[in-house]
């Protein structure tokens, strides 16, 4: 059986977890087994109907009032008790901030190795085989496991969602015992900016700026584009971040984030090797840069060699028109 950890944030199931469940279901079918999902948290069971359509035949709900707030230590303890009971062959996590925090803690408890941030999964001779980018995507490693259960976290925005099925299935509730002194570290508060932005790793469209943006004030031009484009976020190259034009959490590339949006728009980005590593897996790339020889054009599906400050105002108008149609 394949067990998929479903992440809940602020009472909602994260889409990236449903992507992982969809992939879990595809592998389960291939291995002639079932995909199960696990929801952890106080009162998490109410979210089971949102999970069933993406391939779970059973949803395990781990409840305890001490699980109301996320902590890697308490969640991993809860998961261990489930894993020991139902003995999955494979466990998938989303490679989100929570998944990357939690999966290694569970793996260490189980004494098994873990493959992080995988971008493809397959079965070979009844065993799992995953591909994970290393060096931020400068190389791809195919990895197999010598320990069981086989645990992997899967990158958001990479695996397609299943066509939703029925909203029904079996819910198995389990009251887990967590000794209070085993909870190490607690989230005291989540700090969200007033006009919270979508994270670049989760956005469908990333609008990025580099050195060619010339200054922090000009990133407003990119924000005007993200205001028009659905589910989009502003990204940046390392040189823009190092110049302190924009915060580090927007940085795309090695020492920043690796992104795989449907569309990556690069403005004034030359395309240094570290940057290309972090965005070359985007499904579609467009670029605007003054220099027709810039490396970014080698990976772009469509490029404009021209002045971004002259192009963006027209682009805004044209995008508005296209979207309203």
């Amino acid at each position: 059986m394949i067990l998929v950890f479903i992440e809940i944030r602020e009472g909602k199931v994260k889409k990236s977890s449903l992507e992982v469940l969809s992939e879990g279901k595809r592998r389960a079918d291939e291995l002639n087994t079932e995909a199960h999902a696990v929801l952890v948290g106080h009162g998490a069971g109410g979210l089971a109907p949102e999970v069933f359509p993406y391939g779970a035949s059973k949803v395990h709900v781990l409840e305890n009032s001490l699980l109301a707030h996320y902590s890697a230590s308490s969640f991993s303890l809860a998961l261990v008790s489930l894993v020991e009971e139902i003995k999955p062959e494979i466990i998938f996590f989303p490679a989100t901030s929570m998944g990357k925090d939690l999966a290694p803690r569970l793996a260490a408890k189980l004494g098994v190795s873990l493959a992080t941030d995988c971008t493809s999964t397959a079965c070979k001779d009844g065993k799992l085989e995953v591909v994970r980018p290393i060096f931020a995507g400068k190389a791809f490693a195919t990895v197999s496991f010598k320990s069981s259960p086989q645990i992997a976290s899967l990158r958001p925005n990479v695996f397609p969602l299943l066509e939703p099925g029925a909203e029904k299935g079996e819910v198995v509730k389990k009251e887990v015992v967590i000794p209070e002194d085993q909870i190490k570290g607690q989230v005291a508060e989540i700090i969200r900016e007033e006009d919270a932005e979508i994270d670049v790793t989760e956005a469908d469209i990333v609008v990025s700026g580099g050195r060619g943006m010339k200054g922090p004030e000009n990133f407003d031009l990119l924000r005007e584009l993200t205001a028009i484009l659905p589910h989009s976020a502003v990204g940046a190259s390392r040189s823009a971040v190092d110049a302190e034009w924009i915060d580090h959490q927007h940085q795309v590339g090695q020492t920043g984030k690796t992104v795989t949006p449907n569309l990556y728009m690069a403005f004034g980005i030359s395309g240094a090797i570290q940057h290309l590593a972090g965005m070359s897996s985007s499904k579609c790339i467009v670029a605007v840069n003054k220099d027709p020889e810039a490396s970014i054009f080698k990976v772009a599906d469509f490029g404009i060699a021209g002045d971004l400050f002259k192009v963006i105002p027209h682009l805004k108008e044209e995008l508005k028109k296209a979207i309203s149609e």
Binding site: P104, R105, K109, A139, V143, F145, A322
Partner: protein, 260 residues
């Protein structure tokens, strides 16, 4: 307050990665190696905490003797001591294996630590799992991907980066913290620091010294294939007037890419 910082020697981020298909590994030829950038942030944070609270900063690396250069850099930045755990095994990308080695090194050599600092991931393996694994093996609290850290007595508060927000986490010491870029701006080594580092001896510890048995350090992950990423085909580049160029781009996104 005594702090251990765990560091790794990695290829420069500017390096072009070539694959040696015979050994299924990264070709090291012509590559410049550096202290992993997030580890550098962790070292800096340790030095700042020592400056504020006293104590010592010990830097630990697992690897072959090439890693001595990386440890020397940390000493030159201001670390008090450095230790190399000698490991001649080629890179396995198995985080649990390294975590077991580090946890054992802490138990055996640094029992009186208050804080274990890591980079949030090494630049290269991109595993982002060793800090949490070490925390679990030593039954400690963990806060990963930290952009702000405050220590007061035996309590800590850290800001941890999550998608589109920050989590403020409270914890007690001893603890594991992993550093994200932005936590601080790492200092450059001074000439004085470099000279002092030259004089310091770096002890080399073996698995045997740590009482690690062979089965404990056997990799449980296998790299069956290593490849370069698929090459993207360069698309169309136009040099039209801005208005026409913008029209063409949106037309491409609408009609060909079918995204907008």
């Amino acid at each position: 307050m005594n702090i251990c910082v765990f560091v790794k020697r990695v290829p420069d981020t500017e390096a072009k990665i070539r694959i040696d298909h015979e050994t299924n590994s990264i070709s090291e030829e012509g590559i410049n190696f550096i202290l992993s950038p997030y580890d550098e942030v962790a070292v800096e944070e340790a030095l700042r905490l020592r400056e504020a609270n006293g104590g010592t900063v010990t830097v630990v690396s697992v690897g072959n003797e090439e890693a001595l250069t990386t440890l020397k850099k940390c000493l030159a930045m201001g670390a008090d001591e450095a230790v190399l755990v000698k490991d001649e095994t080629p890179e396995t990308y198995d985080g649990l294996r390294t975590a077991k080695i580090l946890a054992r090194a802490v138990e055996k050599r640094f029992p009186d630590y208050s804080l274990l600092l890591f980079g949030k991931q090494s630049v290269g393996a991109d595993n982002a799992q060793i800090p949490a694994m070490v925390a679990d093996l030593l039954n400690l609290p963990q806060v990963n991907v930290v952009t702000k850290l405050e220590i007061d007595g035996n309590k800590g508060i850290a800001h941890r980066e999550i998608e589109g927000a920050l989590e403020k986490v409270s914890f007690s010491l001893p603890a594991v913290v992993s550093a994200q870029k932005g936590l601080n701006e790492p200092r450059y080594e001074t000439l004085k620091g470099i000279m002092a580092a030259k004089k310091k001896e770096i002890p080399i510890v073996t698995f045997e010294d740590l009482g690690l048995k062979e089965e404990e350090v056997t990799p449980l992950l296998e790299i069956t294939k290593l490849e370069s990423p698929p090459q993207r085909q360069a698309g169309k580049i136009i040099e039209d007037e801005p208005e026409e160029a913008a029209k063409q781009m949106v037309k491409f996104l609408h009609e060909e890419a079918k995204i907008i």
